[in-house]
Each structure stands twice: as structure tokens, then as C-alpha cells.
Symmetry: C2
Subunit: 205 residues, 2 copies
């Protein structure tokens, strides 16, 4: 394996970038009637896929829902408070983990191909790794939406089994989170809710 020594120092993100991804970034609650193209959604995925996952196994899968029919089907499985948002978003990402992600081990982790058999033999380990790393990847995905200049609206209130049955009939992908994607509409931003400061959430050793 080739070893690279550069870069020796890393550039911090500038203030504009920090604002776009972290300090000014917010969950959008309404969307403008401005389309999001498939090219923009591919750009989101191509940024998101660069993030880390355990042993590079990348269990995250993405269903981009854009047609009115598919959005209506999806809205029916969202909790009531989320339906209008889902209908108004030009695109909605259903983020799932692939229960057979280990089939890609020869491609994504060629230095330890035997991991494929180990994961095939242990569905419990597979589910643990799959859910954990796919959720970690979702964290990257949401920031990738923002990096592409789009607003993200993550929603945890939905009937996962209903979405799985409607869209993943073979049972291979399992829904973890649903994220509205688009350009912010009127009244998109509520007041930011308080964040826990370091005194409440950080310890030192």
C-alpha cells in the first residue's frame, strides 16, 4: 500500500464555509417551488460517499424520491406533522442501510476479503455494523446536502416498516431516516433551539 506524506498541514474551513455547514445551517421546514435536478442529487451523493465508515464498508443506501406519485406514497407513511413538508419538498431522500452490504467487501475493503464470510455468518454483527456506520454516513450526508447549496430537513417521525414495504419490497434495504431536500421556502426557518454547551457535554482527561 502506497504511503502519502502530504499534506503536512490542513487548511481550516473559512467563515463562509462554517456558516453554510454548521453555524448558520438549520433544518428547513418549508420549500420553495424550485426544482432540484438529478444532477444536484448525484452531486450530494458524490460528496457524501467520501465520508468515513467502519472498514470502509459503506452500508448507507439512498432512495431519492422525486415524482408526485412516489412522494404521495411516502407522505402516507410519514407522521402527520411531517406530511405537508414531504409533499412540498422537491426531492426527499430515504436513507437506509443495506442488510447485505458485505457483498461489496471485495470492492470496498480488498485488503481483508475474508470479512465478507465473517459478516455472512453473523447477522447480528452485520446489523450492528450496518446500522452504526450507515447512521454515521447519514451525518455526512446531511452536511453534503448543505455543501451542495441545498437545504436539508431531516425527519425521524415515520412508519419505517411501511416505507420498507412500499419501496424496498425485497427486504434488503431498511429505512433509518427521511430527509427533505430543496431550496428554502417562505418561513423555512424556526428559531434555533438551544445547544448544550461544553460544560454540559464535554469532559477532559
Amino acid at each position: 500500500m502506497t504511503v502519502h506524506t502530504e499534506p503536512a498541514t490542513l487548511a481550516p474551513l473559512d467563515e463562509r464555509g462554517r456558516a453554510a455547514l454548521f453555524t448558520d445551517a438549520r433544518t428547513a421546514n418549508t420549500f420553495a417551488p424550485v426544482p432540484v435536478t438529478d444532477e444536484e442529487l448525484r452531486e450530494v451523493y458524490d460528496l457524501a460517499k467520501m465520508g468515513p465508515s467502519a472498514a470502509n464498508l459503506q452500508p448507507l443506501r439512498v432512495l431519492f424520491v422525486r415524482t408526485p406519485e412516489a412522494k404521495e406514497e411516502l407522505a402516507g407513511h410519514m407522521s402527520e406533522g411531517n406530511r405537508a413538508k414531504t409533499r412540498s419538498a422537491p426531492a426527499v431522500a430515504v436513507l437506509a442501510w443495506d442488510t447485505r452490504f458485505h457483498e461489496h467487501v471485495p470492492t470496498v475493503f480488498p485488503i481483508r476479503p475474508e470479512m465478507q464470510d465473517a459478516l455472512e455468518a453473523d447477522p447480528g454483527m452485520r446489523e450492528g455494523m450496518g446500522r452504526f456506520s450507515a447512521t454515521l454516513q447519514i451525518g455526512t450526508f446531511i452536511l453534503a446536502v448543505r455543501a451542495a447549496g441545498l437545504a436539508a430537513g431531516p425527519m425521524a417521525g415515520f412508519d419505517a416498516a411501511g416505507i420498507d414495504a412500499a419501496f424496498f419490497g425485497d427486504g434488503r434495504w431498511r429505512t433509518l431516516l427521511v430527509v427533505n431536500i430543496g431550496h428554502p421556502g417562505a418561513g423555512a426557518w424556526f428559531d434555533r433551539l438551544p445547544r448544550l454547551d461544553a460544560e454540559a457535554a464535554v469532559a477532559w482527561a
Copy 2:
């Protein structure tokens, strides 16, 4: 609740920012003997805390390990292949979820204070929400390390129960991931492992 209508359009992240966080970003495998200050680590947390979590509940907790004694204790609970990396990193973040994160409901989600009692009564729901949202926050945390101009080295190989017993003796915080933090050293970067392209990981509806 106040409704804000600005900004109507969002700025995409520029190429330098995309390189720093996504396209050039990598897991660092060695670290230079350059200190990381507590101020830099606070900056990382203050960016990471801005990311999303379900109902803004922010179950993620961070233990920053910097002293030689604490790093040696931590290294003893890492898998063998991770020990040298942990010893060489100027700082190591133990990322955990707080089993009693719901105690902060009145602060972080004041619009539904009754969630605190519901979560107190249902430890299973608490564990599901806590692990999921803390893992999502870890995705944001790793990108926040990079946004601060530091290299991150996430490691999944460790004895979680051993770390919990050594550092979280009261059982309240539970370790999810360990991340080395510092400036890249000689040979920090291996070849990038392949990412799954959209054809393998994305579906459309």
C-alpha cells in the same frame, strides 16, 4: 415561535471547503508531535454541537483525552492495531451517548417538556434514540474536526465496556467511537479505499 424567511437561497461550499471536508479528507494514521490546545478542542465541539439530532436532544457526549496517563489507560482498551495511533495522537476523543440525555429536555426542547417523562418511562426508546442521534452527531463531529483544520482518525476497534469502566465509572455515558485528533505525521495517509458509486448505492423513485 418566531418564523424567519431569510436566507432564500443558500451558498454552496466552495472547492477548498469541499476538499477539506469531503473530497481530499482522509483518515489520518500517524500524527505529528504538534500539540492540540484545549481551545482547538472546544472549537471542534462548538462546531459539532450545531448539527442536527432528533428533537434536538443531543445525546452525544465527548471525553477529550490529552494527558499521557489517560492516553495510556485508553490505549490499553484499544485493539492492538490501534494502540500506537492512540499513543501518538496529541488528543483523542471518546464519543459516547448519555443514557440520561432526557434530563436536558427542558433546555433543549422546551416546546415539548413532556418528552422528559416519556423518555424516563421507556429505557428502550431512550437507548434507540440515544444511540441513533449520538451516532448521527458523530458524523457531524468528524467533519467539525476537519473544519477546525485538524486531522481525524476514527477507530471502531476497542473494548467499549473496558473504556466505560475506566472513564465512565458511574455508567451514565456509553462509548460509541474513538477518534484520534491532531496534525498529520509522516505517512499519515494511505491510498483512499474505493467508494461505492451511485449505481451501487442510489435508487430513484
